[in-house]
Symmetry: C2
DNA sequence: AGCGATTGGTGACACCACGTCAATTTCGAC
DNA sequence: GTCGAAATTGACGTGGTGTCACCAATCGCT
């Protein structure tokens, strides 16, 4: 009995793991953090596994103990984001008692999340190249399927009209991604305005969209 | 005068170019065609310049006389598509006399084009990987900007309500890409149904969408 | 036609990234 | 403290990258 306590007399319980497990978690995070930086700087295409490991105190072989390729690292980064936002979105949707709530809470939650998440946005939007890359990982795709299932459930319960759930899911995804992307390119990020725009579009179509304050609120191409 | 005619007595005027220019055009097309096949088979990420050149009778060095990298080849392929569809879309939009025409002709033209264009679709949607890649080339982005300008013009002329043209452009693009993608994954491709869905969404919102014939018309995940 | 000049194809080469693996270090259990 | 397991290391073979000196084909001119 005494030994067990003596072994960790003052140790905070935040480290209940052995040294082994600790460095394992640490190394993984080291690689992910380095990858975020390098992806943001060079872009996904130009980045090599060597670039990532060089931004780390680890040896090249160690990389392959944690990931199979740079694709898998990228996937892990995106999956982290997806895992963070999926439960929030789902929670909002199950609470929704009407089409209005379903749509507006979905867009509001999504836009606010994206606006807060500068790090991952910069990881994905590499400014170097003019070309834009979008990679949908399994976890992200699972989020899409979840949305479709919720729409189908809402239709069965009579909350939604009996529309094509697959196309509606695709439309919500498309608008959420594209509009959030434009939102992030603006000087002043306004997730509320973006969410209101998308919500109005889905609930009433173009004619119910809010009127823009300035004629060319597009704020240029930059 | 006589010499000029004598130089090509029977030659069809389809080859007014010298031999030099001819093989140049031919080699470029050879590379592009090989690239389309290889991209479709291996996916963009796994494809190497060597894979492309190997699917060709040319030597490796020759590739670099035509393109700097596989990215540039991919860009050329996408730009061909963009150059083919942009004038058609623009023509439809300038003809439009109302919001209804603007939106419906845009989606109809786009969906029909995508449905007809199996080759380029398979080039981009490599079934091998679960992850999906979307690369927007400068030409494609120019098409987006063109759409936004047309929206702004329509607003100035009073055809459109004074909405946020940038967000509206992004929404149209997002829905067009995502819905067309789902359309192409279905057993029976129906560009008309896809266009009607997208049009109804933009003109009147969810509640005016056509009712789906089957409850789960999503046709699974495949 | 014949003949230099020029353009463009060729493939070997130096460089580097990839993924592996045997040797070595580090940790955990007894 | 000692032994076995687990993880790290970096050198290595393989193969892709982009370049360049060389050479063949075409062009312009007489």
């Amino acid at each position: 009995m005494e030994t067990a306590l003596a072994k960790s007399p003052v140790s905070p319980r935040v480290e209940p793991l052995g040294k082994r497990e600790q460095t394992k978690v640490q190394n993984r995070e080291l690689i992910l953090e380095a990858a975020r930086q390098v992806f943001a700087e060079l872009g996904f295409g130009a980045t090599t596994v060597r670039d990532i490991i060089r931004a780390t105190p680890l040896a090249s072989g160690t990389f392959y103990n944690y990931f199979k390729s740079k694709e898998e690292v990228y996937q892990a980064i995106r999956d982290d984001v997806a895992l963070a936002i999926r439960p929030r979105l789902r929670e909002e949707r199950v609470k929704a008692k009407s089409v209005e709530e379903f749509i507006s809470s979905t867009f509001r939650t999504f836009m606010e999340f994206v606006a807060d998440d500068q790090v991952n946005f910069r990881t994905i939007r590499h400014t170097a190249d003019t070309t834009r890359v979008r990679l949908d990982t399994p976890e992200v795709i699972a989020g899409f399927e979840e949305l479709r299932e919720d729409i189908e459930k809402a239709i069965k319960e009579g909350v939604f009209p009996p529309v094509d759930a697959d196309f509606l899911m695709a439309s919500i995804v498309g608008v959420a991604f594209e509009v959030s992307d434009r939102m992030m390119l603006r000087e002043k990020r306004d997730p509320s305005a973006a969410a209101i725009f998308a919500t109005a579009l889905f609930l009433g179509g173009i004619r119910t969209l809010p009127h823009a304050s300035h004629p060319s609120s597009g704020a240029g191409t930059a």
